[in-house]
Assembly symmetry: C2
C-alpha cells in the first residue's frame, strides 16, 4: 500500500476503504504519559520550535494507537507568534496576547508570513516526520482566520467573543483587512507544510460556531474560502472543522474542503444531508464519552460508525482528546473502528 | 389593559399584539448601576433570601427600561441550596458545590422541596412584586433538571460536562433518579411562584445544547417534560430556553412549552420551522451586539423583528445581558422594539 492508497486519504476523497480510518484531534497531548515526560512544562510554542521534540510528540500517538493519520504537533497561533504579534500559550489557559488588536494600527504587527524565514522549524519538523511516518499520512494544519482573530482581539480565550463580534460589525473594513491578513498567513503556512510533505491539511475554525449564520456567511466565510481555495492546486485533501457548527455546515461546504469535521451535536447522516453530495465527514464521538466505561464508549462508537455510513467517513472525536482521557480507551477505540466492516453501500 | 391582555402574555399565547413585547434575560443584574448599588458584594443567594431587596432588584429594570415583563430575581440553584445540598454562588464564577454528587447515596441530600418551609422568602418576594407590578406580568423561573444536575455533578461551571455525561451514560438509573428528583423540585418551586402570583414561568435548560439530540431525547427531555406538564393546569404560559439548542428545537417543542427561547445561532423563522406550528418564539439578539454602536445594534434588532414574524414573538436576547452592557443601549432597544409595527400577517 502506498501512502496515496491509505484508508485516510481514500476516505477523504470519498473512495471506498476496507476499514474506516481513524485519528483523534489532540491525539498528541497531555493525555499521554510519554507526552508529559517528553514535553515537560513551559509553552507549547517552545516545543514547536524544536523539530526533534515536535516530531517525537507527533509520532507518539501513531506508535501507541496505530491511528491512520498523524497530525503535526503545532498550534493555531504559531504563525502570528512567529511574525512577532506578541502571543504566547499559557499551559492550562490557552493563547494569551500581550497587546490585543484594537485598531487599524495594530494590523501592521501582522506582517506577511515567510515560512522559510519565520517558521523554518515547522518545515524541518514536517520533513523529518514524512521520512519517519512511512505510509501514514501527515496532516498539516492552520487556524482559520476567525478563530485566530478571536484570540488577537479578545486577548485570550473567550466565552462570548464580545469584542470580536463588535469589531466585526462596527468596523467591517478593519475586520476584513484583519481576516484577509490572517488568511494569507494561514495559506502560506499550509502551503509550506504541504511543500515539505504533509499529505492533507486541516483548517481549524474551532470557535466559528459562536456566530450566527448571517455573520459567518458575510464576514468569515470569504477568508476561510481564500485559504482553502489557495491550497486547492496542491492536490491534498482539505479538512475544515469547527465546534457547534450545526447551523453553518451548508455554508462550510461551500468554502472548498473535501472533508468537513463535525462535533457530536449533529449526527453524521444529518451532517451529510446539510453538507450535500461530494463532501466527506470527519467525526464525531463526544470526547467526554472516552471517559465512560467501555460498554458505553464502544456502543457510542458503533453508532457513530453506522451513522457515518462507511464510505467518505474519517472517524474522529467531535473535538480534541480531553487531557484526563485514559490512553487505553483510545487504543481500544482504534481497534474497534479497525475491526468493524464499513457500513452501508459505497457512495457516489 | 388588564394583565391578561398584556402584550407579553398575548404573544406567549400566539395572539396578535399591537407591539412586539420585549424583556431581557438578566435584565436585573450587574449591568445596572442601581443594581450594583443596592446589591453590594456577596452571594446572590443572600440577596434572594431578602424579599425586599429581591423585589427591588426585580423592579429596577422594569422602571428603567419599561420592559413588558419582570423576571423574578433568583437563581437556578435556589431550590437545591434551600434543601441543604451545599451550593453557593461565587461572584464572577457561578454555582459551586461543596461536595459534588458522586453516587446514589448523595441523592438523599436532595430531599423534596417544601416551598412554604424551604423558600418562604421567594414566595414573599413574588407576593410583594405582584402587588407592585400592576399590569406588568412577572415571570417565575426554575433551572431545568439537566442544567442543575450539571452543577451538582461537576461541582461548578463546566465547559465539557464530562462527569455529567459519563454519569448519565454509565449509571442511567442513578441519572434518572437524579433528574426526577430535580424535576420534582423545579415543579414544586414553579407551582409555588405561580401560586403567589407569577403570570408565566421560564424553565432554564441553559446548557442542554452541550448534548447530542439522542442523549437529550433519551435522558433529559422526560424530566423537563415532567416539569412543564406539571404546571400545565395552572394556565400560565411556559417558556423553555437553552443556549446552542439548534439541534434540539424539535424535541424541546415536544416538552410542553407555549414558548421556546432561541439563541442567535438559529434565525427565528428557521426556529419556527423546527418547532412546528402553535409554538411562540422568544429571542434572539446576540447579547454581544448590545455593546456595538447603535447603527449596528438597531439594524440587528430590526432583523430579529422581521424574522420573528411579528406575532407569537417575544423579543429578547439570545442569552443573558452581559455585565459590561451600557443600560442606555437597552433603553434604546426597548424603544425601538416598541416603536416598530409588528411585521407579517397574523399567525393561526
Amino acid at each position: 500500500m502506498s501512502r496515496a492508497d491509505s484508508p485516510f486519504l481514500r476516505a477523504c476523497r470519498g473512495q471506498p476503504t476496507e476499514r474506516v480510518p481513524v485519528w483523534f484531534m489532540r491525539q498528541a497531548g497531555r493525555s499521554l504519559p510519554e507526552y508529559r515526560a517528553a514535553r515537560g512544562e513551559g509553552s507549547i510554542l517552545d516545543a514547536v520550535r524544536r523539530p526533534e521534540l515536535a516530531a517525537e510528540l507527533t509520532m507518539q500517538p501513531v506508535r501507541r494507537y496505530g491511528v491512520d493519520a498523524a497530525i503535526l504537533f503545532s498550534d493555531i497561533v504559531v504563525p502570528v507568534a512567529a511574525v512577532g504579534f506578541g502571543v504566547d500559550v499559557v499551559p492550562g489557559r490557552g493563547p494569551v496576547v500581550e497587546a490585543p488588536l484594537r485598531s487599524r494600527a495594530d494590523l501592521a504587527r501582522l506582517r506577511p508570513l515567510e515560512p522559510e524565514e519565520d517558521v523554518p522549524y515547522v518545515i524541518d519538523t514536517v520533513r523529518a516526520l514524512v521520512a519517519d511516518l512511512g505510509d501514514v499520512p501527515l496532516i498539516g494544519f492552520a487556524g482559520a482566520p476567525f478563530t485566530v482573530a478571536s484570540y488577537l482581539v479578545e486577548g485570550g480565550p473567550s466565552r462570548q467573543y464580545t469584542r470580536t463580534k463588535v469589531l466585526m460589525r462596527a468596523e467591517p473594513a478593519l475586520w476584513e483587512a484583519l481576516l484577509d491578513a490572517l488568511a494569507d498567513m494561514a495559506l502560506a503556512f499550509l502551503r509550506a507544510q504541504v511543500g515539505a510533505g504533509a499529505a492533507a491539511v486541516q483548517l481549524f475554525d474551532s470557535w466559528a460556531g459562536a456566530l450566527s449564520p448571517d455573520d459567518y456567511a458575510r464576514t468569515v466565510l470569504p477568508a476561510s474560502r481564500k485559504v482553502l481555495e489557495g491550497v486547492a492546486d496542491l492536490g491534498v485533501p482539505r479538512i475544515h472543522f469547527g465546534v457547534g457548527t450545526g447551523e453553518l455546515l451548508g455554508l462550510m461546504a461551500g468554502a472548498g474542503a473535501e472533508v468537513v469535521g463535525v462535533d457530536w451535536r449533529v449526527p453524521l447522516d444529518e451532517a451529510r444531508r446539510r453538507l450535500g453530495p461530494g463532501v466527506a465527514v470527519q467525526g464525531n464521538l463526544d470526547p467526554a464519552l472516552c471517559l465512560a466505561p467501555w460498554e458505553v464508549l464502544s456502543a457510542e462508537a458503533q453508532r457513530v460508525l453506522e451513522r457515518g455510513g462507511g464510505t467518505g467517513h474519517v472517524f474522529n472525536l467531535g473535538h480534541g482528546v480531553l487531557p484526563e482521557t485514559d490512553p487505553d480507551a483510545l487504543s481500544r477505540l482504534v481497534e474497534l473502528v479497525h475491526a468493524t466492516p464499513p457500513a452501508g453501500a459505497p457512495r457516489p
